[in-house]
Symmetry: C4
């Protein structure tokens, strides 16, 4: 979706857009960093306010900070609405909704009590932290990780399906074996226990007490211990694939057919056979 203001828009709009929405210019990068700092600080304030002892002593300061950031974010939101080409499209986009929801609760609190609780939605603004990966050195690294995960998404999906089936089947078996005792009170709870176990988290809030139950749990644990190798292997193998950003790589992209993903020591393009 191209949200850039049209070429006929006043130049201040275009400048403001490049600062607020983009990270190519120096001003845009500074804005991104300042915005990130403001978000982190406002989230910290929300977090501290939830601690009773801190709220009792510094509550008035935290509320002032809250109003300060709400003011800043309100200004930012209005600017975003003004400079974007189609304000409605932005307003109903994921980030548009999060931006709105992060200022709404404080404003609503002026006329209504109880909405204060919604402040935590502001935390979602933290997702903007991923914008920072568009800055400088991190671009390639972020793309590398996301790329490897994207390329493995079907394999990971197959793996997750297998794991989910496993936990449902074993959770149900456990419900029958432990007979609804010791926390294994319903199948969904048993499935929750199976997930806690297969992922090797192991809270211990529910744990088997019968011999058969402990035997099945042992099998599940060893399975979980062994199958952790599968997603790890998938991602490792994907990341180890010869890509262009490796040291010694000849060319990121073939100059003829634009294919990428050559071996580091390739001399010819794997797609068109052209000399690299």
């Amino acid at each position: 979706m191209d949200t850039r203001p049209s070429a006929s828009a006043p130049s201040w709009k275009q400048t403001a857009y490049s600062v607020v929405f983009e990270s190519d210019t120096r001003a845009g990068q500074l804005f991104d960093i300042a915005l990130l700092a403001a978000i982190v600080l406002s989230v910290l304030a929300v977090m501290l306010e939830s601690v009773r002892s801190i709220e009792a002593r510094y509550g008035h300061i935290l509320r002032a900070v809250e109003w300060l950031f709400t003011g800043l974010f309100l200004i930012e939101y209005i600017v975003r609405l003004l400079v974007v080409r189609r304000p409605l499209a932005y307003a109903v986009s994921l980030f548009g909704i999060i931006d709105f929801l992060s200022i709404a609760p404080t404003l609503v609190a002026l006329v209504m009590t109880g909405s204060h609780y919604l402040m935590v939605i502001r935390t979602l603004r933290l997702l903007r932290v991923f914008r920072i990966f568009k800055l400088g050195r991190f671009v390639g690294e972020g793309e590398f990780i996301v790329g490897a995960l994207k390329a493995s998404r079907f394999k990971i999906l197959v793996f997750l399906t297998a794991v989910l089936t496993l936990v449902v089947v074993i959770g149900t078996l456990m419900y029958v074996i432990e007979g609804g005792q010791n926390g294994f009170t319903s199948i969904p709870k048993c499935v929750y226990w199976a997930i806690v176990t297969v992922t090797t988290v192991g809270y211990g809030d529910i744990s088997p007490t019968t011999v058969l139950g402990q035997t099945l749990a042992s099998v599940l644990m060893i399975l979980g211990y062994a199958i952790i190798a599968v997603p790890t292997g998938i991602v490792s193998a994907q990341m180890a694939l010869p890509t262009a950003d490796r040291p010694g790589a000849k060319l990121a992209v073939c100059h003829v057919c634009q294919a990428s993903g050559h071996r580091a020591d390739a001399e010819f393009c794997w797609r068109c056979g052209e000399k690299l």
Copy 2:
């Protein structure tokens, strides 16, 4: 085992067979997806029924759903028996037995009480979810994972043997060290504890209290932390192999320069540029 109806069978039988047993035709794929949805829904119903509070309020609806799915699965079972070439062979196959057991309890409940508990067997039908890997994009991915695990099966077996020996030896030592106290009441329980520890699950339902016990536990934990690297390394190395068993791989070796390690979708050799 070829269970296809013979060529002389009536054509409706052959059509029904391809729909119910195969996934090559569009009808067959739709049937698979519909069956999968029915299985997931029926398993959800069984799971919800096990929650006391839900059962108290919506028990009558859940029982109606149960009868609905039992009816559908009964029809499916009968159709399978009718169209398959050798009904008995299907009936005693793994999936045949699971299919039968998933409808039997509800029917038996008509004449006998208490059999309701066996409903959980229906969960095993979830194993049919792996049929979905025969659909479209997932074929290759599923085969890739299963292939890597199969190729590593002896290595994984060796690894599991070593781990099992380790937990039995350390579990027995722990029984002597902790002296049958604090949950370490028998050797099998100590082995269970050793498995909980070496897999890094760590419920905490049993944990050592003596100095010597905590020392041995520390050694076991660090061992477990280190040897998780072994199955992961095995599977990673297997998956990273540039071989012909990758889906769609053209050639393992270039016929001109004998270079291997081509991309699965390469059309030209990366070393000599020859068409593969």
Copy 3:
């Protein structure tokens, strides 16, 4: 150490030696499997005897089984002493001592009570399970894993040193932070807690309650989560190294200089430059 009987020994000795000590002949393999089964069964008997409820009911059977296996192992031990070239060398070797200790407690129990507890030493005989890796298909797989671990031993040692330093430093800090409360009663206990945490076992028998303690624990957990990548990476990289048992490998060993470990696609020996 060559323990084979000298060529001048009577032929029954040489035959017995090859059966009892080696796995090259069919008889030797059968003996190894039978011995392994006997060891597993005797360990199972010891394990079951430690369960109070089973001991109360089947104690007499288990004691009979114990005497049976003690008799068999005694015969085996005597045969080993007879056929080996230097009986003393065998008797003081690791396996010789284990073999002796696994029969001694039962025999000692004839004249003395209380030694029964030592029966658990018999579990150590399970280590003979690794003999099975000398049988058929497993030889290469076992060697592959052990080889990769051996090649990585210095890297793993460096890694373990770093982890041990980390847990001692953080454990000590935790002792100061939590002030000897809530289970953090001494530095060794805090180090134990740090090991439980960094390996992601997380029993929960000791867990921080102060804000600073939970913060430090969080740092340690994320560290532990991240550095698990190091041993895994080491072993994966080692296993992914081009070795000769890979499909497509030219030669396991150079016919001139006997060097192994060639790339799968190598055409020349890396050590002597000879054409493979």
Copy 4:
């Protein structure tokens, strides 16, 4: 920073410097090992002193040991100050401060009580253990691991940022869902719980009790189970790189055929057989 004494310094200073600060000479290596042993022993003494039962019985011995090591470390500290070219630069460097702090508490205890608690700072001297990696065989291995981590540092930073954002967002959601009950009393505590869960540590001191909470926890666990693959994949892929930064690597690329991916100890090119 070059801290070597100037060439015009007396020769005993230069000898002492090479012994105390460097590990190239035999004397320097012996000093490093002796220092390390002294540090490990002094840390052990501090650890044992924190155990109440041991302190009650052997407190006087441990205090004598403490004075012995304080004396040795004081002498070492003075020698370091004497032989280094710029004593102030050493005194304010990280190791200089740690060296000073590890002797200060015992000395201060002569005129003031209560400072004894600071003894634990001595543990930080353990960081000198990493000096040992400069000795012999470990040089290359330590560099290999540190090199792989250094090369992956941006990727790991991106990964950690993503994980931290995730735990803050999910921790906050959990605070709303569990409603400040069952240990989820503040957002920082919920974030702590999220870290305990995503890293699969799972103490169980805080665990969700509501259905929605357990569902979100399950999602977080499976996420944590899956994303452990990311750092592992990053480091594995980095370590599997056939590059020149492997210890002893001859050449990254053959000067004749430009082939890369040679063994670290290869003397001939695997592709063309040319001497490297």
